[in-house]
Amino acid sequence: MIQLKNRSLVSITDYSKEEIIKVLDIAEEFEKNPRQKILSDYVIASLFFEPSTRTRLSFESAVQYLGGRIIGFASADTSSVRKGESLKDTILTVSNYSDLIVMRNPLDGSARFASEVSPVPIINAGDGANQHPTQCLLDLYSIRKTQGTLENIQIALVGDLKYGRTVHSLVQALSKFNATFHLVSPEILKLPSAVKKWIKDAGLEYYQYTELADVIPFADILYMTRIQGERFPDPIEYEQVKNSYVLENKMLDKSKDNLRVLHPLPRVNEIHENVDSNPKAYYFQQAQNGVYVRQALIAAILGLKE
């Protein structure tokens, strides 16, 4: 039974396999026709307690293309939060003025809490280092679009597998689709055992590597991530690993025809600019897909698409 209407989306694990597929199907429809004025009677709140221009613009563009109106704030500096208002009070107040709340907040678990106190549905646009489910959905959309299926994908995840939340969500989601995981990271940034457990519990396999070149010949998806300095307790440790992996165009010579390179962006040095013009580079289209996925999610949660 697929029931997305009036349900918050906090973590990708809130959705079943069928519910994920449903959202992607609706997104496909929006990709063909993104300008449907179905939100003209709706107000969407966009509450960004920390700045994230990329995600905020993607959501706001999704709403605007559908003819909806947006209220909210782009950082906590300009909001009542600065005056010390509790998250609960902000959510209860804003829910009086809107049909759905998109929220980004630096506190881990804030989205789950907001979804429990809010009378209107919440879409989590990132809660600290915890979850960012719309990023995960757009990654899944991009994989399905480029590979024709989400089933049986050979996915190589590269870079910071320890702290990278997009990687963790992607592992959780693809564990529902019989993927094989090729994990490429420096020794100190390996995938946490709690996340590996997801793979094992699904009866699937993972393999660990330290060399990027080892996975390129057989991967369907090369999912590159940035190694983020701010996550490291020790700056020396960061210096040692920050440029561990740099994908260059010539490295893709031996890759499969269907291989596509994905990246949640922004990138730093991990993908050389000489890859950008390769038809296997997909990271900019991937970001574009975020708008369709967010349109689909908002429409499904408001009960405007089934």
């Binding site: 973590s11 509790s86 998250l87 609960k88 630096p106 506190l107 881990d108 678990g109 804030s110 789950r112 809490f113 809660d127 600290g128 280092a129 915890n130 979850q131 055992s193 709690a194 457990k197 094992k200």
Partner: protein
């Protein structure tokens, strides 16, 4: 005969509760979390006793006391292998292995300083799971971080 000698290592109590089969290293922690230093009746504590099951075990006997479920949940988190024995007139009237609950609310603090429960007025809630090494883990309902027994801090 040998059973009797084991019993004598820590005095018998007339009425109260015995917490048996505590892992030796957890014995003082159990004593602490139950605030047993405030108990006015007799309390006996033994540690590094021989145990077939655990190698070394601890045991705590508390006169005139029975535990409520929130206290039993606390014991379950610190000493999940323990057995709870109720005593009346020197006789065992009830003997139960402690079973950790599926969820635990309010009594434990989340180990993650960035968790919403440590920054807003939110009651904590954890799901209790077993990892694939057989270790008990507490997974925060909000921030989804998991913590092991050594991270447990009671509110």
């Amino acid at each position: 005969m040998s059973d009797k000698r084991t019993e004598l290592k820590v005095s018998a109590i007339r009425r109260g509760t015995v917490i048996d089969h505590i892992r030796s290293e957890s014995t003082f922690r159990v004593f602490q979390i139950l605030n047993l230093e405030d108990v006015k009746d007799q309390v006996y504590l033994g540690t590094n006793l021989e145990s077939k099951k655990l190698g070394k075990k601890g045991i705590i006997k508390i006169s005139g006391k029975s535990f409520v479920s929130s206290e039993i949940n606390k014991i379950a988190l610190v000493a999940p292998e323990a057995t709870l024995i109720e005593i009346e007139e020197y006789e065992i009237v009830k003997k139960e292995k402690i079973v950790p609950p599926d969820t635990i609310t309010k009594i434990v603090k989340c180990v993650n300083p960035k968790c919403v429960t440590n920054n807003q007025n939110v009651e904590t809630k954890f799901n209790i799971v077993t990892d694939y090494h057989g270790q008990m883990k507490l997974v925060c309902h909000y921030c989804e971080k998991s913590m092991t027994q050594k991270d447990i801090f009671f509110i």
